[in-house]
Amino acid sequence: MQIVRPAEAFPATGTAATPAVAVVDLAKSFGERSVLAGVDLSIAQGESVALIGANGTGKSTFLRCLIRLTEPDRGTIRMLDDVVTDLGAAELRRFRSKVGIVFQKHNLVPRLSALTNVVHGIQSRSAGPRTWLQALAPREVREEAYACLAAVGLEDRALQRVGSLSGGQSQKVAVARMLMQRPRLILADEPDASLDPKAGEDVMDLLLRVAREKGLTLVTVSHRLEHAVRYSDRIIGFDAGRVALDTPSAAASVHELRSFFSDRTAA
């Protein structure tokens, strides 16, 4: 059976000369344990990249280092016209506002409504009490948040508490919050990991569609190899804190990727 690859059905449109992400010699250790041991990686504007690798090989740490949720020990990160590793606190906040991130856990506030959680996305651009709750938000912000919820197909759940939504729905609300940010680049750290296969696929479909529609770069960490193949243009394999595999997704098969894993774990 021919696998239909959404990543091919909607090809990347960006052709900018300067890469969206350029990482040189990125290193990070936690105590004695070296997690990133000098990563060099360049990602083109509009490209969808999947990061794969066994647990503890540094994929998630790499992603977190990109926006300095984890501070790298060494190396340079250039992203969206900024040298991320050189930014001060205020500049870092401004930079982060341009990068949307979806985590493995949705990381929403369960006691608040879906709409309020999406409104929180506006905090990338403004601050103050009117960004704290949908009930306080200005009309145009409420409208935009509602449109973001509609974009993920959950406009009918706007006033429902996130705590009462399913895992898949919550993850979509997290995507809506990310859209509210109007990001220029999307990072996703195992967005499909805690979801059932169908919901995981829905979320991956959604992320790729959003990225393609707006011509955004998408960097996804995934343990589901079939998702890595289907939803990316390029697959990067991490091993022992370094890039050990870099292949176009169209040329990769789940079978080959599985052997990449088993070779490493056997070693």
């Binding site: 401004r94 982060r96 929180h120 905090q123 940010q181």
Partner: protein, 266 residues
């Protein structure tokens, strides 16, 4: 009959205590015995005390309701004092708690200062604060309100800070990752999550304030405590009985209501 099989490697049921722990246990027991001796509590004293207590109780009943309107009025003032002091304390406790919380404090020195303040306000009893404020602002309810306020900053400050430290760090990180300010993170992610805990703490604080405010009157900080003291000073035990019953009913009522609210929230 065959002997049961011995399992090699089975750990012993008990391990022998070390010499240090034996000494520490003996010291603890000796200290407890010494405390009873030091406090001078004896059976003979208890025997003498019981008839005196019985005599007082017999003079308390039936309670004298002649001054009931005055007592109820004082009780209302006491309750108002508790509510006002409590609300002021809770409002001020929040910023102090933010500065004292591990994950929110802007600087270790600020955190240490905020924690020191909370510890000071908590460890000094409210009666002592009342004595200080009576000297500072004079006799009457204002001193009581200030004493309750300070006590509640200490009480709620600690529990607010603990609740915020225990809040799920996911939502907070997500907002930080999208470039939100510290204030934004606190009010969008942390406060909504801690709200049930904040409300429960606030209701406990109110209960505590109502109970405490009765005592504050004894040192002149306003409310029904003054009435109680005067009644006892004049050996007017039947009026004192009325006051005690009134206080008991008020505290019971406040506890019942706050318990209902807490249940509804959880």
């Amino acid at each position: 009959m065959s002997m049961p099989l011995r399992t090699p490697g089975l750990p012993p049921r008990h391990s022998a205590p070390s010499a240090v722990s034996v000494v520490l246990w003996c010291a603890a027991v000796a200290f407890v015995v010494w405390s009873f001796a030091g406090a001078g509590l004896s059976l003979e004293r208890l025997q003498r005390g019981i008839p005196a207590l019985g005599n007082m109780l017999s003079r308390m009943f039936p309670p004298d309701v002649e001054r009931l309107p005055q007592i109820l009025w004082s009780l209302l003032v006491t309750f108002q004092m508790a509510v006002a002091g409590c609300v002021l304390g809770l409002i001020l406790a929040f910023p102090v708690a933010v500065l004292a919380a591990d994950n929110l404090s802007p600087h270790p020195a600020v955190k240490a200062a905020a924690r020191g303040l909370i510890a000071l306000f908590r460890t000094v009893p409210d009666l002592v604060w009342a004595l200080l404020f009576v000297i500072a602002v004079g006799l009457g309810p204002p001193a009581g309100i200030l004493a309750i306020m300070v006590d509640k900053i200490g009480f709620a400050g600690r529990f607010f800070a603990e609740a915020m430290e225990e809040a799920d760090k996911g939502p907070r990180e997500a907002l930080e990752a999208l470039g939100a300010t510290r204030t934004g993170v606190i009010f969008s992610a942390i406060v909504p999550e801690c709200l049930p805990s904040f409300v429960a703490t606030s209701l406990f604080a109110l209960e505590k304030a109502v109970r405490g405010s009765v005592i504050l009157g004894l040192v002149g900080a306003g409310g029904i405590g003054v009435e109680l003291k005067v009644a006892f000073d004049l050996f007017d035990y039947d009026t004192a009985a009325t006051i005690i019953i009134a206080v008991f009913l008020l505290v019971l009522l406040v506890e019942q209501i706050s318990d209902r609210i807490r249940r509804a929230l959880i």
